[in-house]
């Protein structure tokens, strides 16, 4: 990994976009990177649009502002596409990663002319298959790791195993499901 990678997450309150951003900071940290993970706090309500951010760099990160020209955008809830210009400022060298069951041809018209890579993943399907419940953040985290290439997949899975073991120490039965969700998502993300 070289230089600075900036990621912006769009989700709805309660879907875990903030948690996913913090998990991404954690796994990138484990590779020796300098990281930032932070949410933008507004009125905190379930279902309200929320934004979270990551910076991952090989140099110390000094800027604390929000991210207006990201390299990657992750959209955890496709209904946001109607209301929010998710690709605003997004690098055309980068990519937008959207949680949807639709083909990207159906999604592209909603992206206000974005010319870069458009990636999709059906996080609901992945999550239902792996966990039997709908938690989109693990599949979306795996998708952004795959698309951005900020760390090798093997290392990512290894670190997430340890992270889940720590996070879910009191409910180890969900570790396997979450790991399965990550592994499926790494394969399922489409360009």
């Amino acid at each position: 990994m070289k230089g600075l990678t900036e990621i912006r997450w769009h989700g709805r309150g309660g879907q875990g976009a903030k948690t996913a951003a913090l998990l991404l900071a954690d796994v990138a940290f484990s590779t020796g990177a300098e990281v930032q993970g932070f949410p933008e706090y507004g009125p905190e309500r379930m279902g309200a649009p929320i934004t979270a951010y990551n910076r991952v760099s090989d140099k110390p990160i000094r800027v604390h502002s929000n991210i207006y020209a990201p390299d990657y955008v992750v959209v955890v809830d496709e209904t946001l596409l109607e209301d929010i210009d998710v690709t605003a400022g997004l690098s055309e060298e980068g990519a937008v990663i959207i949680n949807t069951a639709k083909d990207k041809e159906e999604i592209i018209p909603l992206l206000k002319g974005y010319q870069g890579r458009v990636c999709t993943i059906d996080a609901r399907k992945v999550s239902m298959e792996a966990l039997g419940m709908y938690f989109p953040n693990s599949p979306m985290l795996a998708a952004v790791i795959k698309v951005s290439g900020i760390m090798p997949e093997e290392k990512f899975l290894e670190e997430m195993q340890m992270s889940y073991e720590h996070k879910f120490a009191s409910k180890p039965q969900v570790i396997e499901g979450n790991m399965k969700a990550l592994k499926i998502a790494l394969k399922e993300v489409k360009e």
Binding site: L22, A25, D26, F29, E34, V35, Q36, G37, F38, P39, Y41, P60, I61, R62, V63, H64, S65, N66, Y68
Partner: protein, 392 residues
């Protein structure tokens, strides 16, 4: 060996508190500092520290209990934000005038109204004349380091004044970022055992705390507090030097970034400093003589040192994340101008109010501010100072 970690600002401060293991922490929760008492109470519950955690019913009581504990002879601290600090107002003065060396972790947040939970310095700036030492932190690392140094400054016999360790709400308090921690043992040894000279539970030497002072004594008490604040300047530097030997991280009253030959300098406090530094680097690469001066110690105000550092500067943007409603600019800008005037230095000083209620400030904003300084554009329209990024 330093410990490489990634923590939010609130986790960083809480970690320092765990390593210090204070005797007493009374607290009442308020966003965005709530996590600090939450983490500390979990450390207590997990048996990691033997701090007496006191869940009180208001911030007024939190500060009262902190003062009471300290007067009794304990090392005590609390944490708060915004309206919580406002409710402590009376007790802030009691703490400093009782000369109790307590510490307050302030996670800076806007004051109402309109009601807002995000960062600005209006809470801390509102308490700037309460006789507290104020340290402002740029990031999680500084919030941690300032917290480790705080009791050493407060408890020094030449000082005996409370210390407020400030960081920007959400921007650093809730952002996970890399930092280097010291080992528990090193912090413990650095902070040391608290051995107060006088305290209420010392039956051999009875004393009164907070008695009435008639006119013939009151001024002497205030003068003595002022001396403690003046003495704090040397102590802050001595503690910083010792901390640098321990951690490798040096601290001063302020940080000078590319200021040595700078014509145009942004003076700023807290988390916005990084954006100014990045803008400075970009413009330096174009050959522009620009710099950043970040104030860490706002109380005591390092007037002479600031004037000396800004001796050859042509124009300054003095950036306040607080509106003081003086009608004459932000609070830091006013004190900076007074410091320069006192040193018979008369550069252009543009007072700028930015970032209120969490309004974002970017590298590009900072570049535009430098461009205005260079172009001599000091026009503020109808105000004697300027608002950054405001709809008019």
């Amino acid at each position: 060996m330093a410990i490489r970690e990634r923590l939010s600002g609130n986790e960083a401060v809480s970690t320092a508190i765990r390593q210090i293991n204070p005797d007493v922490m009374p607290a009442f929760p308020i966003t965005p500092s709530t996590e600090i008492p939450q983490y500390v109470s979990s450390y207590v519950a997990d048996g990691l520290i033997d701090t007496e955690f006191v869940a009180v019913e208001s911030e007024h009581s939190a500060m009262s209990a902190t003062i009471g504990a300290s007067a009794a002879g304990a090392r005590a601290l609390t944490a708060t934000s915004s309206a919580g600090l406002a409710l402590m107002w009376e007790e802030l003065h009691i703490a400093s005038s009782d000369r109790v060396p307590v510490v307050l972790a302030l996670v800076n947040r806007a004051l109402s109204g309109p009601i807002n939970i995000n960062a600005d310095h209006s809470d801390g700036m509102g308490a700037r004349d309460c006789g507290w030492i104020q340290l402002y932190s740029e990031d999680n690392q500084e919030a941690y380091d300032n917290m480790v140094m705080a009791f050493r400054i407060a408890e020094h016999p030449d000082v005996l004044l409370p210390v407020m360790v400030c960081q920007d709400g959400f921007i650093t308090s809730h952002a996970v970022q890399n930092l280097l921690l010291l080992e528990d043992e090193k912090v413990k040894n650095f902070v040391g055992e608290y051995e107060p000279e006088d305290y209420l539970l010392n039956a051999k030497n009875p004393m009164a705390v907070g008695p009435y002072a008639v006119s013939s004594y009151y001024m002497e008490a205030r003068r003595s507090m002022a001396q403690g604040m003046l003495n704090a300047k040397k102590v802050i530097m001595d503690v910083a030097k010792e901390y640098e030997n321990l951690s490798g991280r040096g601290y001063n009253y302020f940080e000078e970034y590319q200021t040595k030959d700078a014509d145009y300098v942004i003076v700023v406090m807290g988390s916005a400093t990084g954006a100014a530094k990045d803008a400075c680097d970009k413009l330096r690469a174009q050959g522009k003589k620009v710099g950043v001066l970040k104030i860490r110690v706002f109380r005591p105000f390092p007037a002479e040192e600031l004037a000396a550092a800004l001796k050859n500067v042509k124009a300054i943007a003095a950036m306040d994340r607080a509106e003081s409603f003086s009608g004459n600019g932000g609070p830091m800008a006013a004190e900076l101008k007074a410091a320069l005037f006192g040193a018979r230095q008369y550069p252009e000083v543009l007072s700028m109010v930015y970032g209120l209620g969490g309004r974002d400030i970017t590298v590009e904003d900072m570049e535009m501010i430098y461009a205005d300084l260079e172009a001599g554009n000091f026009d503020c329209k109808e105000l004697p100072y300027r608002y950054v990024n405001v709809r008019e």
